[in-house]
């Protein structure tokens, strides 16, 4: 009995460890042909398209009835998780209806978002004018801070445990969302 359960449980873990965080329903509306560099070149050309983007939060601004999040774009891996690398094609803005707490959606956290391209906004960054593509969020996922997901760092036994539990936790949230 145990001998059967353990491999199945292991297989389930592996399977669920790769589960994307944005739902099938939303993903089916996403136009996967739109690349971020192209979008940034000319946001207006993609108005109305739904795109999947991710990155690291730069700032969260609360408006009267909506919340804007400025994100530094990062490429997404198979889990739809923004990468750690410094490589980025630029910044974008996401508009959310209602209130998102800037204490939670804090600078440095990773965000994956599927949203509809609304156009562009030009804002100054230091001495230049920067063109931000703007999305209206449809569905998003806020990643837990890095340490939870990191590869083994605490020695073999515990390290593997952390990995298993870490991905386990992530899925829990993803599925119930």
């Amino acid at each position: 009995m145990i001998k059967k359960i353990v491999p199945i449980a292991g297989f389930l873990m592996l399977l669920s460890a790769c589960a994307p965080v944005i739902s099938q329903t939303t993903m089916s509306t996403v136009d996967k042909s739109v690349s971020f560099p192209a979008l940034q070149q000319n946001p207006d050309a993609y108005k109305g398209s739904v795109v999947l983007l991710g990155g690291q939060i730069i700032a969260t601004t609360v408006k009267a009835n909506e919340t804007w999040i400025e994100v530094l774009e990062k490429s997404l891996d198979y889990d739809q998780k923004p990468s750690d690398a410094d490589q980025s094609f630029g910044r974008f803005l996401v508009r959310f209806q209602g209130f998102l707490d800037p204490a939670i959606y804090a600078s440095g956290r990773k965000l994956t978002v599927a949203g509809q391209v609304e156009g562009k906004v030009v804002r100054p960054i230091k001495e230049i004018h920067y063109t931000y593509p703007v999305l209206t969020a449809r569905e998003h996922y806020l990643w837990k801070p890095e340490d939870v997901y990191s590869t083994p760092r605490f020695g073999i036994g515990i390290g593997v445990g952390v990995g298993g539990h870490g991905s386990g936790g992530g899925i829990g949230v993803g599925v119930t969302k």
Binding site: A9, M13, A103, V160
Partner: protein, 179 residues
């Protein structure tokens, strides 16, 4: 010998972890009061005793009181905040006296019991936000987790599951077959 040690540490955990709040308070706490309802209209719930928890955003010292601004989270079985990202909103803990912001600092987890005292409107960005205010009776500031409030490692500190003695939710993950 080995079994004895495990049992002993489990017992110890039980003894240490299960009674963070005085029973008198726990009896008074109205468990049916939902945070979201209070958030909608804090005035309606004035005088009710609740047990809430969350993560500290900021601690403000006034001459005679300390205000702790917290984002609410659910509590686990031992009344410790869990799942910090699934917050329903913010609230303010009002404590008669001085609490050091160097200790009650940002991102620390806290559980508080006390009496609801209405609401206080403050501004977050461009939004007016009505914070429920709770007059603190008992405050429990939780030990820092090794990796901050997001870290839930049941293995914390070693192979003995002393972090959570009871319903051990990740039990089946303890022995993946490839070990």
């Amino acid at each position: 010998m080995r079994v004895g040690f495990v049992t002993l540490s489990l017992l110890l955990v039980f003894a240490l972890s299960c009674a963070p709040f005085p029973p008198e308070t726990m009896r008074e706490v109205e468990k049916d009061i939902a945070f979201e309802d209070v958030l909608k209209d804090p005035g309606l719930f004035k005088g009710k005793v609740v047990l809430w928890g969350g993560v500290i955003i900021e601690t403000v010292n006034r001459p005679d009181v300390t205000l702790i601004i917290v984002w609410q989270t659910e509590l686990d079985f031992q009344k410790q905040p869990k799942e910090p990202d699934r917050s329903q909103g913010r609230f303010i803990v009002r404590y008669e006296g001085f609490l050091d912001p160097a200790i009650y600092g940002k991102d620390r987890e806290l559980t508080v019991s006390g009496t609801l005292a209405g609401g206080e409107e403050r501004v977050i960005g461009e939004r007016r936000y009505m914070y429920p205010v709770i007059d603190a009776r008992d405050i429990r500031l939780w030990e820092k987790r090794k990796e901050g409030p997001y870290y839930y490692d049941p293995w914390y500190g070693g192979p003995y599951p002393y972090w959570g003695p009871y319903p051990y939710p990740y039990g089946w993950r303890r022995h993946p077959y490839w070990w």
